[in-house]
Subunit: 336 residues, 6 copies
């Protein structure tokens, strides 16, 4: 078991019932989540000691965030209270051919308007094995661009391994801006979640010009590895979107010059796709913390992500043992 | 953008939750709809000026109908209030192999018992591009058989194009009675929604005796066209029912001697099938009003119908732009 | 029947179920409303021609606002689309001794950040009998302080009567700032909703130093009238809060030197208090537009407000005839 | 324990949630009930053998009625299936000062259009102690006016006591028509539920011209008794409507020249008032069947009615023992 | 039509909504059911006279069980009231790859702690055609092991045919214990529901060592028949679990030396799998009671089971006619 | 702020919706709670460091309990997992005159069947200010009778103050048995929640024979104090039950020879009464830990209890600041 700090924004998600549009709904389901918070919950579920650092308003919504995290055993000592508002977004669930649609209302949030690292970093990073952060945070403001890099450097100096999820959001910044920032961060990173498009757009890997789909994934990992030999593990998922209700999911991982791939999970129907990637990242970090062999790491992480798709809300609700039983059993069988 | 009048009955639909039967349910979901009203909503969503003419009781249910239509910007100046009751029906949602089942309770409704055209027709048809009506209306009573024909003739004289949806309901009248009435109407029609079975049973087209499924559709359109050269556009859908939860849908259209067909949409799962045909008709009329090329007309209409299947309720909830984005994007992808 | 324009912000309200706190809820009920929009709905329900002018984002939430207003027949020609976001707030329903609590999240809304009057004012005020606006609007920004006064002057010049609801919100501006602004507005006003505290804090009426509760209300009206002889009608409610679930409500009105008061309504239980004041204002304006005698005006308006407390959501759901029947009948009797 | 037959119409009630109007609701709660059916359920709950005779359509709604009655142990051997439709009505729950409102949609129901008594009456009345019917049934049609009288006579001849609930509904027939019919029925009646207004309007009792509220009730019972000495028990409730949410309820009974009155129940809040009178009648008949002393009869019946007001749906959900415990305990105490 | 007695435990099932885990849910759906009770409901739906014998506590939960059974016309004369508690279990619905999970809380129930057959067996078995019981009952206690055999013998002597469903539950007893008990029962059985695993583990049939899947089923039936020539009909389903949401289902039956198999039903999506096997058994017994030919028996039973999967709750909600229409129609078609 | 350990059983409560009976409900709301757990949550809400010691099964229900407590920041290090089951009970909400009714299903729970104190008591009581336990625990078994006393003695020796809530449950043990056990415990107690009936039945205080209601409360406190001079604070509530929906609540406290009483709270309507006493106890202990003056202690505690009645679920959802604002404000006022 390890000790982990994740840091990022956490938002209130307003979801509609499946089959009802935002413009017609009379109720919204409320979920609290964000990439780094979701990773924290996953790791806490698996028995690690995890703190989530962020900032939320000092009102009932901030309190709801705190209670949400506490529920899963996440340490909220570094969840600051103050600032103007909680970021939010509206999600209209997709179904069949129709994709989900999202309205962001995250500007001006308590986290986004932070100008300095208000946490006691010495205390926060003390004894911490992994510091996990994503590419969404530096996209929030000029201040956050600088802060993100500083936090990573501070954590590194404090002896943490750095876990970074590229997580590009085109609605927040341009590819050019993102690329510059990400390339400044990567030399400090140990574990990196990045896929084929990330490799091309931000890590400046030339496009693969072969024809083999299998080779392609390996090619990008190899090229990224060449550019950033400091990164010991790369990972990402390959998702085939049959429809908003049915996806194939395969997890891939590159470590020590070898490529690992999970079995393919057919997720049908999808209950809630939000947080599927975070459950995957949480699963990978869990395996790395426990020094499992890489095949087991990627199998576990992909199973965890597949399970996340079967429950409402952003965060993984499954224990290590439940993920492992799921891996061991076939699809859909009951024991009575 | 055009100006359209649609006329017909609008009913209160009582639906059960999926997985619950009518005989056991403790709640019903209420939706207001009817073929012509649903077409009106679609066209209003796409920016056309649409009035829906009908008659509903002067009570809270009639008021609910008015508010429902107003919500989508449909002009309710010709929604008369009075008469005995609002027609209704109960729909037990189908699922998988089990088909939906319906109990009609529409007899004696304010609309069905009308004896004369109580609207100011001169005003109603003034400047109107299309008058849309269906084969359900003449099926309601002897009076409506006559009234329907008179309304069509009056509209024609006022300069409207006539859009007619055959929409045969075996629970309302016999094939013989329907055939006679429909054949009296068709000489005045410009746009006609009619499929293979309509061609055989009501337009007296001999059954196709070839073996090619592709040829078959064309054959029926050609034969219908021969009989009614006045009709400039025929259209209908080909639906393959895998189960109550999964259907293939293809839109087809015949105009100026050519056959047009949309791509095939796999609708899985189906949220609510009611109004799928009306969304298709609304899409076709929209394209015709905007004088789009026919391939675009049928692509748009079929996409609109596919989208309708993904939302609860009778009426299409999507704007022109949303239908077009859906056509442009693949299945089920999100943009973040 | 008259023609009215109301202008102001409209927001999305997130409400919890009674007995559930914001920090624990898993769902929110969504209602769209705002003082001026609610007045518009009331007047439209009573048969007047009403337009609501505002600005909402060009997304599904803006569309929801438009559909909400259309549903009640309110003209949305002056509902602009654009800008950053829809203002919102969270309401935790009060019950018994426990008061409701509110979290505002309205800063930076599409309406609040407007810098100029983007509407075609000539067209908007043409033929308009009453222009209704409230003291919330000038509180939103420096720009709005100026714009509010300009709009009022423009409307006045176009021949509208000006209806102004003081509606002081301490969370938006100071009493000093509010007082200055309101005193600049009042010389242009014809109908004014203002109570005892408004008189003291913003109209600079010295506090009543007598002992008679009856005299007190009259005193304030008289003094306000002296300061602003241009205002022909003052009105407000006297509410006695037994608990969050039970209130006494009396409507009062001052016109042509006379004081009018409705009967007392015991509202128990209160279903939803939000919009109760707007329903009252809508009732008063309805009576004034129809030139009813003042006693009837205040009776109708107070009954309308009492009825509003019995339904969920911000807006009055009752027709003129329903309010009048309610007045005519005793409390709680059914006719079968 | 006794054997009872009740006969009448049973309808589907569509109710809105409290605080939501019919014209805005998206769901209806479904309850099956009718005066005579509700009495049957009460008596079955108390252990009597009860059959309910009626006619419902041969579809899922008719099946739902059958299952509803079976659930409470009511014998459905005389629940015929066939005819056009199930009668229904819409109930908008009242709250506080606002009364409930009702839209009837019962015309043309399978029961209402019956022309003859389609039951095997010999079998149905064999061994039956009480035949219970109400004044709603003869109001349904000319045929039912005759049939009702015939049924009563047949039951009488078969040895049943006749229980008749006047239950005047002004929406179904005039006072004159009702009076004539009722006066033809009363000579055959043994137990009669009739109040002060019934006495005046249908039994032609001159209005009481004293001032004592206590004497008044006794006066009417005495006068009715004089006119119909064949009736051994008269009963009714005195209800004081504080609001739609709070009522006082007192049960009164006249038998063998004596007047009996229950304690006053303050029912606050009222959950569902529908069926409150039927629960009272069921309680009276139960006491009479068990030959309890009259004070106990009226106490039990009024308690049963008060309890009915605390549950949703038309029918009493309480056993004899539960009603008796309720009588024995004070208000609102729990035993743990 | 026949007369049947089924006997066993009935429990309260607490289910979560699909997509919500037991550890996070705020509500549970309540269903009452158990293998033998579910068979009773099916048979009652098809018009047979069925009594269900069991024991439930004398409280509101016991009353709920009684009302549940009464609703479907099942005779509850042998539903005893008393004992400590109602057994219950929690079901977390499976979805896609994730299987359902169950927590049993059935120990110490009123039924499980019975020591003697408290029913009047002479009366209970009088005129009864079939006595149906399952392998769950003897697994509950040592007392029930003896009682089960005694009940079967008593029923046999009273002239009933014995229907036995092996229904092994590994959480209740060991294979060894089960095998001994079951082998003591089988010599008295006439109709037996047992599949391939039952044959191997309890009937001591050696494992099939061929390669043909078709032959395999026949092999096991043949071998079981050899061991128990007294059993006239064997039946079971072959279920292929694609996922928790999609299963293939084929019914198989062995009678008079011949093998019968239904068409394959693709059940997708599955609404509620609980009771699917009981609906199948109910369908088989119905066919046997009505002396249908065996192919019709197995077709009907499998269709009934497929339909059960489309509704919530343990028990089949379909009449004989509805099952037959379903068989006659294709998948998912509506008639309007 | 202090450090507290509470110990006791925690159960799953199944509640019906108001107006729906247990025997008819189709859903149950799930709440986890128990007297000592609820006190723990209250104290954690007020900022104290609190651990709750108990034992729950090692399944999803045990996990749900853990997550419930974590959510409120309660330390679950001493929440053991194992044993047969989670105790539960069913609560049918009372309303108006009708009292709530309860079905217990708590026998044989993981906590109730404990034979030894399985916790590391040295660690658990280290640095702990108060150990809180109630009279429900020794009522569970003979083992628990002994264990309770041992735990109290161990805590005492470890330097904890002992807080004991008599909390007599007549369904668990006789008054005689309870009296003996309680009298053995009280010599070790510092803070005791006990009312008039407790004084009479368990502390052997002779019944008050005066007539003054005010004197009566004081009398009992004085007599209890005489018998147990070791107890420094006695407290309890006086509740006047107008109905299940409306209660008057007054808090009383006896300390250092003085009597303290809160204002009277009229709680109308009551949302959920369960846990009202625990919220009161939690409020008292909070005040004592913070060494507030006694009047403030009792005012705060009673306000906390009144607030608890306005929310669903067993546990208090209000912070110290919210309780204090509530005390400061009048009833039902909003600040906007």
């Amino acid at each position: 078991m390890g000790k982990v700090v994740t840091l990022g924004e956490i938002m209130l998600r307003f979801s509609t019932e499946c089959g009802t549009r935002i413009a017609q709904t009379e109720t919204f389901t409320a979920h609290y989540g964000g990439g780094e918070a979701n990773v924290a919950v996953s790791l806490s579920n698996y028995g690690h000691q995890v703190a989530f650092a962020s900032k939320v308003p000092d009102n009932a919504l901030g309190e709801a965030v705190k209670k949400h995290l506490n529920r899963y055993g996440v340490d909220t000592s570094y969840l600051l209270k103050g600032g103007p508002r909680l970021g939010s977004y509206y999600l209209e669930a997709g179904i069949g051919e129709r994709a989900a649609s999202v309205i962001y209302d995250r500007a001006g949030s308590s986290f986004a308007v932070m100008e300095t690292a208000e946490w006691d970093l010495t205390q926060m990073f003390a004894g911490c094995d992994i510091f996990h952060i994503s590419g969404i945070t530096p996209a929030l403001s000029e201040a956050w661009k600088k802060l993100t890099l500083e936090l990573i450097k501070t954590a590194k100096q404090a002896g943490c391994l750095i876990s970074f999820d590229v997580n590009y959001r085109g609605k927040l910044w341009s590819q050019k801006e993102a690329g510059e920032t990400i390339r400044a961060i990567l030399p400090f990173v140990d574990y990196c979640s990045a896929g084929k498009l990330d490799a091309q757009h931000f890590l400046e890997v030339p496009a693969y010009n072969g024809t083999s789909e299998d080779e392609e994934t390996t090619y990008y990992y190899q090229e990224m590895q060449k550019k950033y030999p400091n990164i010991s593990v790369f990972y990402s998922t390959k998702r085939k979107v049959h429809s908003a209700s049915a996806n194939d999911l395969i997890g891939t991982l590159w470590a020590e010059g070898n490529y690992y791939e999970s079995q393919c999970h057919l997720i049908d129907p999808i209950v809630d796709r939000v947080g599927g990637g975070d459950a995957f990242a949480g699963g990978v970090l869990h395996g790395l913390l426990n020094k499992e062999d890489y095949q087991k790491v990627i199998d576990f992480a992909t199973a965890a992500s597949a399970l996340k798709h079967t429950v409402h809300g952003d965060c993984n609700q499954f224990s290590q043992q439940e993920v492992e039983s799921f891996l061991a059993m076939g699809s859909g069988k009951i024991i009575r």
